[in-house]
Amino acid sequence: MATTPVSEKVVRVSVNGTTYEYEVPTRRLLVHFLRDDLALTGTHIGCDTGSCGACTVHLNGVPVKSCAVLAVQADGAAVTTVEGLGDEELTPLQQSFSDHHALQCGYCTPGMLMSAAALLDENPSPSEEDVKVALQGNICRCTGYWNIVEAVVAAGKGVA
């Protein structure tokens, strides 16, 4: 006997180490769950079409676009948002963004940081090419990208 489809569902999601249990409409996107239900507004909505990467978060450790994931798909998963990267202090990656002027308006920055942090987890000393591939899904309309790439490469070399 198959389960009955529902339009509201209780989800249990660990976000930045805290477990939340919420009843959500099944049509709610993960990005809205994070921003509107949990008030974690560091995760931005840029294009809302899966193109710009501003909404990037880590889902079970890998970067995904939270506007292309339903909140119910994250049931049972661990999510890290930009708020979960560091505590009061900036992480070396965040400090490197500041030092290298890797942001202007800052709108894309949370997504850039999440993609870059996932890269550094997997490859602690990425090359310029590695960084470009890792950030391909993140669009920035201000910086021209060079300073972002330099910031991530420098963070990998520990010279932030």
Binding site: A2, T3, S7, R27, G50, L59, V62, K65, Q73, G137
Partner: protein, 282 residues
Amino acid sequence: MLLREVSYARPSTVEEAVSLLTEHDGARALAGGQTLVNVMKQRAASPDVLVDLADLDDLRPITVSGTTLEIGAMATLASITRSSEVEVSRPILAATAATVADVQVRNRGTLGGNICVNDPTNHFPPLLVALGASMTIRSASGERVVTAEEFFVGVFETAVGEGDLLTRISIPAAGKGTGDGMAGVTLGAHGTYVANAAASVVDGTWRIALGCVGAVPHRATAVESALDGTDVDEAAVRSAVEGLGDTLDPPADVHASAEYRRSLAETSTVRAVLQAAEKARG
């Protein structure tokens, strides 16, 4: 974006998923959601019920069984790029998966979801036709296997109908004397294709499939016959491909006129064949 209201179920077995897809009108399988969720925002798709395949672990493994590479429909593109089984038995699948969209999309997007969309500008439809892949589809009445050419039916249409679930994609593992190539022009470095060609040679026998020139991948059979059993060099390939464009009736759009697509199809074919020939020589 607020999606239209939709019901949701997360079955724990393939049988249960098939029952859900069969019992509910307007039910649709949800794999990685990298296409479906976005087209639901645009209201280009409005399923009444989403059947989330996330818990069907049977559909994730990538294995080699005898001389066949078996890729579960829920294997993500990221897992295909990292799979040692793929690297050993059909490396072009990993190389191609690595050029789809971006890291985030590859982490969620699955091979099964990708091909069930059958977007004519996509990478895998022509490649899987050239590789001679077959697809296993489950329904309430049992399991059936179709060839890649039977699988791709029309623009956004495949052999997976109502109540059907694609479970796995099978590709012959490459032995000595096998070579594969894929070439084309994309929108941006890792975008969708404007035109492409995939070519595969196994012991001197060629299979060539073109993308973006019709609703489904187009086999370039005349080119295949001209190349079969020959010693492939660049002059021979150019001569075999000459006139291919005239046999095609590609669409024209904002990215390319029909005439330009004919020309790109020929150039892509030459490049894909030369890549494959070089790989086959080892």
